[in-house]
Amino acid sequence: MKKLLLLIFISVSLFAQIKKGEDIAVPYLAYEIKMGKGFDALQANCLTCHSFGYIINQGPQSKAFWAGKVVKMVVHFKAPITKKDTQTVINYLYKHYGNGKLK
């Protein structure tokens, strides 16, 4: 009985160590994003830093809001998004995740 308990104890502590020593695999989820004009620019520029979940879960927003978000990514987060792509991404976001208001 003593031996059995010891074995259990060792296996538990080993498990804890192995778990923490191993590579942790964070799962990938497929966030359903709307397809449309400009989607390629979105895929090329946004996914490097964050999932589409970040976009979908902001709720519908104004064009000024989306412009502000994309500009923030460039100005504060230093994302290398070209001027052309910036405008494309803003237009895409407003069209598919806009609230109909420019501001």
Binding site: K20, D23, V26, Y31, G53, G59, Q61, A67, L102
Partner: protein
């Protein structure tokens, strides 16, 4: 046209269009959001807003208990790159800057060379319940589950600073963790705190509810600052740097700030020019049971359960109303043995007497006399921070 001018021009173009009226108020946050089928490491399936960075919310039913279990505890990271492996033998926290002795602390040092202390404290994202705001405030539209309460074990920050020896001009401490951005130039998620604002309750924690910190909650060590919002509870803490001057940082100067006026509110059309960090948590309660749309038999027993907390001032009462807020009755609070920073569990029993929809409300009050306002009386702020409206669930009595 220079790049900056281009952005300015596009913003002006967008802003020159006339505005429609907006509510500028709050209502109940989103509830009953879908739980993901996919579980993340050391977590049970949760509401999952993003996988990179991971953003996981606890469902309402989590909040019937004063301690949130590790596998249900919410997760919020800022950067896409989180180390996928921590070597516990070589992991170190570097202490540097305006100190007499710069040094590194290993996990072993942390657990053996300092007094080990515990504090039970609530942790809440500044944007918790953001979905309550109208018009929709910028940011992830969290329900009320970006919060939790755990027993944290670790070492006092003050003990570490004492060993380092603060120099005369030491006024600020910067904390940095191991999460990193995809681009080299992206600012790190560094937090700066004023030394005189840190008390003995601030700890560097390696255990949460008697287990190692879960990976997604900051394994192997994180900062714990009881009473404050979670934005400064740096995860995977790797650097403590003492400075004389405050350094300009995106995550301090632009993110996690509210209008610096009495009501901490503004309108989308007229943003308040001065802002301040969110820092201390306001008084709040959340009902864990029953939930919206729960079906209850008429004249049967209902035990409402939930949790309440504030910035450590101390909850004195949680009142419950079952008549739309006209009359309120005291609920029964737990003993409060876990200390002033912890969730207080409350319970309130009654029997419904009428068929149909029934709304149950909870309102917490603290030692300073602060109480939760009705959602409709909460002013808007651009980041959707610090929502603390009276909580409501509407059940069906059949």
């Amino acid at each position: 046209m220079k790049r900056r001018d281009f952005f300015k021009a596009s913003l002006i173009a967008a802003s020159s269009v006339s505005l429609t009226s907006s509510l500028n108020a709050a209502s109940q946050p989103k509830d009953n959001q879908k739980i993901s089928k996919v579980a993340f490491p050391e977590k049970r399936p949760m509401i999952t807003y993003s996988d990179r960075p991971p953003l996981l919310e606890s469902p309402r039913a989590t909040f019937t208990k004063a301690i949130t279990s590790n596998d249900e505890f919410f997760v919020r990271w800022h950067m896409p790159e989180i180390p996928t492996q921590i070597d516990t033998q070589t992991f170190k926290i570097k202490v540097s800057g305006l100190v007499e002795r710069e040094f590194e602390i290993s996990l072993h040092d942390l657990k053996t060379q300092y007094e080990q202390v515990e504090v039970t404290a609530a942790l809440q994202c500044g944007g918790n319940s953001r979905s309550a705001f109208s018009p929709i405030a910028g940011g992830i539209q969290w329900g009320s589950g970006a919060m939790g309460c755990a027993k944290w074990k670790g070492v006092r920050l003050s003990d570490i600073l004492e060993r380092a020896g603060l120099k005369k001009d030491a006024y600020w401490i910067g904390f940095n963790g191991l999460e990193t951005a995809a681009y080299y130039k992206t600012p790190n998620f560094i937090r700066e705190l004023r030394i005189d604002e840190l008390d003995n309750h601030v700890i560097i924690a390696y255990e949460m509810n008697d287990e190692d910190l879960p990976y997604l909650n900051g394994y192997p060590v994180r900062l714990v600052i009881p009473g404050t919002y979670s934005d400064s509870w740096v995860k995977m803490l790797s650097e403590i740097r003492v400075t004389k001057d405050y350094e300009k940082l995106f995550f301090m100067d632009i993110a996690y700030r509210v209008p610096d006026n009495e009501t901490q509110s503004e309108t989308p059309e007229k943003r308040y020019p001065r802002t301040k960090p969110i820092v201390k948590m306001n008084v709040k309660s959340v009902i864990g049971y029953p939930e919206n749309k729960t079906i209850i038999q008429n004249a049967s027993h209902v035990v409402v359960r939930g949790v309440a907390f504030d910035d450590g001032t101390g909850i004195t009462d949680v009142l419950v109303s079952i008549d739309g807020g006209k009359t309120w009755e005291k609920s029964i609070l737990d003993k409060g043995d876990a200390g002033r920073y912890a969730f207080r569990a409350f319970r309130y029993s009654f029997k419904p007497k009428e068929y149909g929809k029934l709304t149950i409300m909870s309102k917490a009050i603290n030692r300073a006399g602060d109480e939760q306002p009705f959602a409709k009386d909460i002013g808007w702020n651009h980041g959707g921070y610090k929502y603390n409206g009276i909580d409501e669930v509407t059940v069906e009595v059949v």
